[in-house]
């Protein structure tokens, strides 16, 4: 349920597959969040590094939490370069209940932003520039300082 791809995501194909995978699961609500690379600051795109072991355990902890509410999470993310106007991230929740789904997609996406071990770089003139000022220190950072 955690899918990593080289380069941009094929959003229509992923959403179609996820929707059809759960078509008989009797979920009443399906909320995907799709993140697309914005053209701003003269960038050609973004590039991503992912540390998979910790991303996987972070995702599995969320999946367990979702299951306690009878919900299901799916997530796709790009590795490497993604040009502007293409998408690098899809998170989705399926739930029997609307309220659970609305609250979970928000909490999941916000925790993803704060905790998922993914590093973002601006692509400018063929160079990869760490997006430091848009990045968030993981909770508990600085213990070695």
């Amino acid at each position: 349920m955690l899918e990593l791809y080289e380069g941009a995501l094929d959003v229509p194909a992923i959403l179609k597959r996820w929707y059809e995978e759960e078509s008989e699961s009797n979920y009443g609500a399906f909320i995907p969040f799709v993140g697309t690379v914005r053209e701003e600051g003269g960038i050609d795109g973004l590039s991503f590094d992912i540390y998979e072991p910790i991303l996987t355990s972070w995702f599995e902890a969320w999946q367990k939490k979702a299951k306690e509410s009878d919900a299901l999470l799916k997530m796709a993310h790009s590795k490497g370069d993604v040009p502007v106007h293409q998408s690098s991230y899809i998170a989705a929740v399926f739930s029997p209940k609307r309220r659970v789904a609305l609250e979970m997609i928000e909490a999941f996406v916000e925790d993803f932003k704060a905790s998922a071990p993914i590093w973002k770089y601006d692509l400018v003139d063929g160079k990869r520039i760490y997006a430091k000022e848009r990045s968030t220190a993981i909770k508990g950072s600085g213990i070695l300082a």
Binding site: Y51, I54, H77, Y121, Y130, A131, K132, L144, A145
Partner: protein, 73 residues
Amino acid sequence: MVRVEFLGPISKEPKELDIQNLAELSEKLKEDESLKEWLECSAVAVNDKLVSSKEYPLKDGDKVSLLPPVCGG
């Protein structure tokens, strides 16, 4: 020996160090001036689990990872 890895934008080769806990690791890494800014803002994982105490004990074969500020999505 403990293997120390620097993730994402910290461009450092992994190190093999003979240390007993994270406090010792902190002392060693502080010797490298170029790591100073990263130590202040990085989280630490031991064997791919985030840890929150400098007293965390290390044993032979452990892997320590430094995770600088993140920005997925």
